[in-house]
């Protein structure tokens, strides 16, 4: 294992402590577990709270998106491991400003179980909770079983849109409805070029040859659609767009945003090389691209690779996407 760390078991705690030390104007620890991050300045009374949670190893997801116009609190687990139900309950309590809390997170068995359990725990505190799951990874299940799909970078759009709706003062049902609409409008696919190492495991999560890529691989190394030789940027981008459009066709006049995301090690240079084909293909369908995002928004530590997330917008989603937000990793307006 070649990683910059002090001790594998201290990886997450030291990462969180450094994150908060660097950005105290945005983040603070909440509760006693040391694994719940909340806004440095809580949202105003009566605002719907939005929480998320999941394993570490994906910065800026999940913790980084705690901020104005985004999330209120986040429970974070060990690398690629779910936080406990207690931590999630703490995050829900931190997010609650008296108007209820939306749990907005990716569809992974452990996280779903623990957030459901956390909901049972906060029932005693009379906090109303709703849930919206991201299921945007088209490679993880066929359209007929879309509800089984994993959640990946689509959550960046969902956090942004739901966060803006909550900041506007909408009630819990309205925030939940628009978060669901955003989640339903997202489709993602990833491609991996190299693996990553979970500190406590000490060895790469999966093996892949130097000249191979895996199309459709999940952000924790879940098996993808095919594995084969490396291809050109245009070929890779073309196939990824094909797969997204096959699942969510676009037509003349559609407005979309696209996230071209590095899984960690892939540099911005290569993302921009991919963007040429992305833009040409989407415009070739007759769509207009609004506010494209290019960069590291959802990662798997040092994994090389990219993911694309396409979101089809209506007027409501577009205005919420463009609304102001502010956290250490992303500012709009």
């Amino acid at each position: 294992m070649k990683k910059i760390l002090n001790a594998p078991e201290a990886y997450v705690d030291e990462m969180l402590s450094g994150l908060i030390a660097a950005h105290p104007e945005y983040y603070r620890l909440h509760g006693e577990s040391g694994k719940v991050v909340a806004r440095a300045t809580p949202g105003k009374a009566g605002k719907v709270g939005i929480v998320t949670g999941g394993g570490s190893g994906h910065l800026p997801v999940f913790t980084g998106y705690v901020g104005t116009g985004l999330l209120d609190a986040c429970a974070i687990g060990d690398v690629f491991a779910s936080p406990s139900a207690e931590q999630m309950a703490d995050a829900i309590r931190a997010a609650d400003q008296g108007a209820g809390v939306l749990r907005l997170y990716g569809n992974y068995g452990g996280d779903v179980m623990n957030f459901d359990m956390a909901g049972d725990l906060v029932e005693f505190d009379d906090i109303a909770c709703t849930t919206v799951l991201l299921t945007d990874d088209v490679a993880s299940a066929p359209p007929a079983e879309a509800e089984k799909r994993r959640g990946v970078a689509g959550m960046v759009y969902a956090f942004k849109i739901a966060g803006a709706a909550a900041e506007e003062g909408r009630d819990l049902d309205a925030v939940t409805a628009v978060a669901q609409k955003a989640a339903d409008a997202c489709r993602s696919i990833g491609v991996a070029l190299s693996s990553c190492t979970v500190p406590q495991a000490g060895k790469p999560t999966f093996d892949i040859a130097d000249d191979e890529i895996e199309m459709g691989m999940g952000i924790h190394g879940e098996p993808g659609v095919w594995r084969g030789k490396l291809r050109t940027a245009d070929q890779i981008a073309g196939e990824m767009i094909d797969r997204l459009l096959a699942d969510m066709p676009l037509g003349q006049g559609d407005r979309v945003s696209i996230l071209v995301n590095s899984l960690g090690a892939t540099p911005p240079e290569e993302l921009y090389i991919l963007y040429n084909v992305v833009k040409a293909r989407l415009e070739g369908e007759g769509a207009t691209i609004v506010m494209p995002l290019v960069g590291r928004y959802a990662t798997s530590m040092e994994m090389a690779g990219v993911s694309f997330t396409l979101i089809k917008l209506d007027d409501e989603l577009e205005s919420l996407l463009k609304a102001p937000c502010d956290c250490a990793f992303w500012r709009v307006g």
């Binding site: 687990g77 207690e86 495991a201």
Partner: protein
């Protein structure tokens, strides 16, 4: 014979000792089909329970609720949460009671199975801990004698492990491994066999 808080403490101590003993074995079984931390999950959870064993209230429901909460604090793993869910299901049934007639155990195991099934969103037959609990609930149903119950439970948990060994995992993380799971014990079922054997005081 009835079960009170003193008997519960003894049972918990036996499970805690069994999990320490089987730590490496459970990690290895889990490592073959998952992330290899099941032994860690269970020893952490049982240590958290034992740390407060002397302070558990006489009310068996409240005592088991405290055990469930200790488990959820100790670990975020799916198995830990399922265990806590099962404990909470039984805790609800026993709220306000300080003694338990063993004849109610089959029904309590079935309640735990049902709640865990709802939380895990999994069907029976998928080669998971749910199949172990189902086998125990079925084998003990109608039995009232404590010794006969213990025998039936320990045997059922062991037999169901063998029955499922050559089946394919269809839910949970082991599902990803498909045919590779054939011939291997499901780690969660293996752990439950050890837990039941320890609770029943039928350790070899």
């Amino acid at each position: 014979m009835t079960i009170d808080i003193a008997a519960l403490r003894i049972g918990l101590a036996r499970v805690a000792a069994a999990m320490e003993r089987d730590f490496e074995e459970l990690n290895a079984a889990d490592g073959a089909l998952g992330d290899g931390d099941l032994g860690v999950t269970l020893t952490r959870g049982m240590r958290a329970i034992m740390a407060q064993a002397d302070d558990l209230p006489e009310d068996l429901g409240r005592a088991l609720l405290a055990c469930a909460q200790a488990f959820t604090k100790a670990s975020g793993s799916s198995y830990g949460t399922l265990m806590a869910t099962g404990l909470m299901a039984i805790a609800k049934e026993l709220k306000g009671e300080t003694t338990l007639d063993p004849a109610r155990i089959p029904d309590l195991v079935a309640k735990a199975r049902d709640q865990m099934q709802a939380r895990g969103k999994a069907d029976l037959g998928g080669k998971t801990v749910l199949d172990s609990l189902d086998a125990v609930a079925t084998a003990t149903a109608g039995k009232t004698d404590a010794s006969a119950l213990a025998d039936a439970a320990a045997t059922a948990a062991e037999t169901v492990l063998e029955t499922f060994r050559d089946k394919r995992a269809t839910v949970g993380r082991a599902r990803i491994f498909g045919d590779k799971s054939v011939g291997m014990d499901d780690p969660g079922m293996l752990a439950m066999a050890r837990i039941v054997r320890a609770l029943a005081a039928r350790d070899a």
